[in-house]
Symmetry: none
Subunit: 262 residues, 2 copies
């Protein structure tokens, strides 16, 4: 993850974006991943009003700066990286796939107070022109799936911005979400053994054991229970269910822990 200060040092530059809803979509993606600095380079007035309808994009759009040229937009940046679809034009720049580009971009924004990075996105229709690319130190591309005979690919602008910014903050080992809490761990062997015992009684009581003797041997029932990955918190629920079933099937045995199953 990038710190607030580092997020501030990344500038997303939209060059000749034609569709206001795409500007709004790009702003929303910036908001989602914590980026704030947008520059828009356009020859005609930018239809920000239309873009502002985009959910969650308002703060980013309110601070967006309209620039007359790419040079102006990237003036304070120490690293300028253009995004391009492979095969889009004659490339005279170093070209990195996004996953390899991201560590370089992060290294620059982490380089003390001076590092500022610009990420350039071209128009939906034509991408970045050669003149615009000439402002870039190097280029990155989002690898896409190329089928034989298909025309060259380019991504939707909002999706391209979302994928690039996701990769920038992706970094392994910094995951905020918790996979499991301690309480949610797997059931203990002891719990599983009790489940197995109760299951054995149910197999007997329901008549299943008479019909499917091989499946009902204690070792087989144990394997059956061990093969399911039961969580510790769920074990009492399953035992409760099995006890209810036993009580209905045949009386008093359901209240005991069972024949042991082993």
């Amino acid at each position: 993850m990038l710190t607030e200060e580092e997020l501030e040092r990344v500038c997303v530059v939209l060059v000749r974006a034609r569709n206001p809803s795409n500007i709004g979509a790009a702003a929303r993606a910036m908001h989602d991943f914590g980026f704030r600095r947008m520059r828009v380079v356009n020859e005609f007035p930018v239809p920000f009003e239309a873009a502002r309808s985009a959910v969650d994009a308002s703060a980013v759009l309110a601070d967006a700066v309209v620039c007359a040229s790419v040079a102006e937009a990237v003036a304070e940046c120490t690293l300028v990286v253009g995004t391009t679809a492979v095969g889009e034009r004659e490339l005279r720049h170093e070209l990195l796939p996004l996953a390899e580009a991201a560590p370089r971009l992060r290294a620059e924004v982490r380089r003390g107070g001076a590092g500022r990075v610009a990420l350039l996105f071209g128009s939906e229709k034509t991408g970045l022109s050669n003149e615009e690319l000439s402002h870039c130190n190097w280029l990155l591309t989002v690898p896409m799936h190329q089928r034989e005979g298909a025309r060259h690919l380019s991504m939707n602008l909002g999706q391209a911005v979302a994928v690039c910014l996701y990769e920038l903050v992706r970094e392994q080992g910094t995951a905020p979400a918790q996979p499991h809490t301690a309480a949610e761990g797997p059931a203990t062997a002891e719990q599983l053994e009790r489940v197995t015992a109760l299951l054995g009684e149910v197999l007997e009581g329901s008549g299943y054991a008479r019909r499917h003797a091989a499946n009902s041997e204690p070792a087989q029932a144990r394997r059956l229970v061990r093969r399911i990955g039961m969580d510790a918190v769920d074990a009492p629920v399953w035992m409760g269910i099995l006890r209810h079933v036993l009580r209905r099937l045949g009386g008093a045995r359901g209240d005991q822990n069972g024949r042991g199953g082993s």
Copy 2:
């Protein structure tokens, strides 16, 4: 990267998508990263015509299948993963950040011929409901930037699909180990749904449902079954056991497939 065959084994399921342009955007992201199988679960006719204006999305949309329920959409899948914004609701599932979820998803589609993965995306407005989440084996989230005091975040649907699929094909030469052989693979969602339906009948018939109503709601029973990792070869055994129990508990219902549970 995934092979053509592996890409075919991933199914993107859009549940209650409200905006045709978002369906088109999701299809375009699928196209860009090489995925082809889309399922759309909607109660009203899906406005595919409007969605078809999305650039590059036509092949995906032409093959899209409209399903009446989540259960139908994921029936043939061996791993069903829901996407969610953190804090969206009370989570009763294991939740992984996208970067950690992707290797698990890839491992499943690489597991011989049998592995099929469904990725569920909820409505733009409300995400996936608890009932819809109950069909999932576990959940993934795209980590976003949370500012103090800000309302909870959710991504634009097309951008969320793009980021998830990008991560799925991202991989830097790290082929994950295969956890299962084909014959030992997990049960399909359809099998688990049948187990869930039978379990629901057992909960009713045994009196458990009257005593523990909260544990016995269909969505809760479904979660209980999804949380155990049931193998395909074991599913018929468990169904046989449950049918025997049902026959003993109360007569003829044990021979049917159950009340459906969905």
